[in-house]
Symmetry: C2
Subunit: 329 residues, 2 copies
């Protein structure tokens, strides 16, 4: 079913067996990469799965293979257009027809920047790891919300606190029930994603409900390069290493547009000895523990208690450097 | 055909639709990872493609998914058994039945170490990127050479210099001709790999010719983490950045058994200005150029002319630290 729904999304964007689909995703722990791959394959398209190589090599593959479809994260797409500019590659030098972005949300200014630089449409996919990722919903060429696979999912929009249904056209939490899944059915699964449901038919002719692109969540779950986790996990990891950790902050930001990075600011009780010899090996211990447990590298800094930022945009542990979230020029 | 040949190799190792195949490969620029994946899928096996995550996470996935087959590089397999030891995980805590290794060659002591630690067979796959990777040849459970897909390839063994056929059972260069490929036929393709052909039937019952595992090549092509290149490419990159580069050495080694690393020692003509401001930014420029062009990170050092090592094991530019090539305890 995963493949079928993704095939449908590809088709609604005009992707067919004459396309060359370049997949620039990290294939570790991001199952969506495989869904995008297998669906493109079952469409009969040619695949150029480039995974996590540099933007320069991505552009070389794009030119050598004459890729017509690029699927990647919004951040990496921005990085690729920055590399094009540096290398003097113009949109006309490529054969791209459309760019698909996911699983991270994309802000409209970033999409506009990509569309201006590449001179082609950029379209958004949506998925939920527990259900079908990424074939659950996606934009058609009309860019008028993400078409939801309503034959496979019953969608409701509820109040994120009370759980009661909200009125038509109102913002709330997306709740999904699987209709066709046998081995792993989910009933009224709360996605944690805040959106609006539109039931009017789309100008493209499809009559399925559409959702607004998801830019907010009800909980504090964060996702770095497609790997979702909760700040509580960071807290548990820090305390398992050092009982003297008093507080911490998690900062998620974009460096050079390459992808999301995370930084952990740690404040610890004074005058307690480090669990390892030196400050440097202590920080390295935290770094390697985070990397081994979450599969993500992090910059770790030890700061004074009063140097911790006070309030984050989502909650007190998570800060997103929104102003530079998309490294626009 | 790629998939079919790999399915055949899986079958000869007893892999079937009840297996859970964990693929710990870098999916960037290594097409073999996809072949292994698609073949396992077409067998009906369950897939746990873990790609390039830490050994700790690999072991967690191995335990959570009850993986029965692990396919990875020899170096990473060694790294996984080292992590098992550190974490006190015993072979009986896992459900593995067999480990498949490729595309790098594995030395017998390393294989024995893996088999002792894991208490299961470790089997070798062989492929040629230009033909079928990695389904070209592979060991059966008898471990008596790699069975070659002779219905798809005509194999000859020739003298690596003169090109004349060598006698039966003699060492020489493997030359292959495709028999079934339509879109991309290759006639007498010189693989550059030195091996011996055995035509006697195997004790496993198969009658196809077998080749000895490949441990040497005729040329100076090297491969780091599955990405093949020639030292000449490094030379061209260095000289494109800095015309004052007098000589260089390429050193390939294993660090902590995680995978092959490369180090480039650069000697440059004295008293010429760096093409960038400082020594540090000069080295960073070389590093980033190598990474962008080859898709591989490298350690780069600037050394005096007389500090360059004199002779490498393969040629003067390439040194393999063979003694610690496999990080055995």
């Amino acid at each position: 079913m995963w493949q079928e729904l993704m095939v449908r999304l590809y088709r609604s964007l005009g992707v067919n067996d004459r396309d060359i689909v370049q997949l620039a995703f990290n294939f570790s722990l991001f199952p969506g990469a495989y869904t995008l791959m297998q669906a493109a394959e079952s469409l009969g398209a040619t695949l150029a799965p480039s995974a996590t190589i540099s933007a320069t090599l991505q552009l070389k593959i794009m030119q050598d293979f004459r890729s017509t479809v690029l699927a990647t994260t919004p951040a990496f797409a921005l990085h690729i257009v920055a590399a094009m500019e540096r290398q003097g590659i113009r949109p006309g030098d490529l054969h791209l027809r459309v760019v698909l972005v996911g699983p991270e949300p994309i802000m409209e200014p970033a999409r506009e920047h990509l569309e201006t630089c590449l001179q082609i449409p950029v379209r958004v996919l949506y998925g939920v790891a527990e259900m079908v990722e990424p074939g659950l919903a996606g934009e058609c060429m009309a860019k008028n919300g993400l078409h939801l696979a309503e034959d496979q999912f019953l969608a409701e929009i509820v109040h994120p606190v009370g759980g009661e249904p909200v009125g038509p056209g109102q913002e709330g939490e997306l709740v999904l029930t699987t209709l066709g899944t046998e081995a792993y059915p989910l009933i009224r699964y709360r996605t944690g994603d805040i959106t609006v449901l539109h039931e009017a038919p789309c100008v493209c002719g499809q009559t399925t409900a559409r959702i607004r692109p998801i830019l907010r969540r009800t909980d504090n779950r964060v996702s770095v390069r497609g790997i979702p986790f909760y700040p509580e996990q960071i807290s548990a990891i820090l305390r398992s290493i050092d009982s003297a950790v008093a507080d911490f902050r998690l900062i998620i930001y974009l460096r050079h547009g390459i992808g999301e990075r995370m930084e952990v600011l740690v404040a610890r009780t004074k005058d307690r000895e480090f669990p390892s010899d030196t400050r440097a090996s202590y920080l390295e211990q935290i770094r390697s523990h985070l990397r081994r447990t979450l599969g993500l590298g992090a910059r770790v800094q030890l700061v004074e208690d009063d140097q911790l930022p006070m309030e984050g945009l989502i909650d007190k542990t998570v800060f997103r450097n929104l102003s530079s979230h998309y490294d626009l020029p």
